[in-house]
Symmetry: C2
Subunit: 128 residues, 2 copies
Amino acid sequence: MSTAVDDDLWSAVGDPTRRRMLDLLLADGSGTATGLSDRLPVTRQAVAKHLAVLDRVGLVHAAPVGREKRYQVDQAQLARAVAQLAAVGDAWDGRLRRIKQIAEAIERGRTGGRTPPLSPRKEGDSNG
Amino acid sequence: MSTAVDDDLWSAVGDPTRRRMLDLLLADGSGTATGLSDRLPVTRQAVAKHLAVLDRVGLVHAAPVGREKRYQVDQAQLARAVAQLAAVGDAWDGRLRRIKQIAEAIERGRTGGRTPPLSPRKEGDSNG
DNA sequence: TCCTAGTGCAACGTTTGGTTGCACATCACT
DNA sequence: AGTGATGTGCAACCAAACGTTGCACTAGGA
């Protein structure tokens, strides 16, 4: 279910500084290493390294403008990353719901003394 | 919008090995460092360190059973982590949609030659 | 008691996020 | 053109994190 590319996207997005950078780039449309470092608690070099990481996984791409190097978010790749986040979140959410349902069923069975209604399951999950 | 606790949860969940561990713990209900390392491509010590990290941020909690130390997922905290993932994903998704809408509006304005309908914006986002 | 299975701690190496320092390129101004 | 300010790039260095190996300790079973 998880590929190496997914892990690359995750680790790229897992760093808080890089998430802030993506936020800033999305808000402003584009930005440079120096411009971003102005609004981040790290130096320009750190930002440049993060931009290199983001560029390597395709989340941003650079365009030289005069002496500047303007970076811009790659919408398609970021959408892919968002899909990964949603996929993992949904998977865990489904597991948690199943656990909760089972716990509630046991609780009902203990207090009510009758057969726990485990039938209304809409999660098509065959466990792991 | 992002707190230090959020960053802790993110970095805990950002590691691919820890994500696999959470998957396994959710699937099996509980597990030990040795048992998990059997199904992971890392040594028991690495798993133990990861379990310590997850324990520190409250995503799992341990219970000594005989000579074993069984770990179990903390549902509430994992739900919180899932909420964080969903929040970031939603935020980015919203930004991407707005960008797409603007691009489409410009495209319509160029080809159709009439006023681009930018009014139906339901994203209450004031930029920044 | 002795052996096995599970855990914990310590040392070590590698990668990563961050810093400082310096050199190079480009724009603006006189 | 010359000069200074602004923006980048590269290299060295430091600290934390992920992973490994090795050894010591503890609890269950023969």
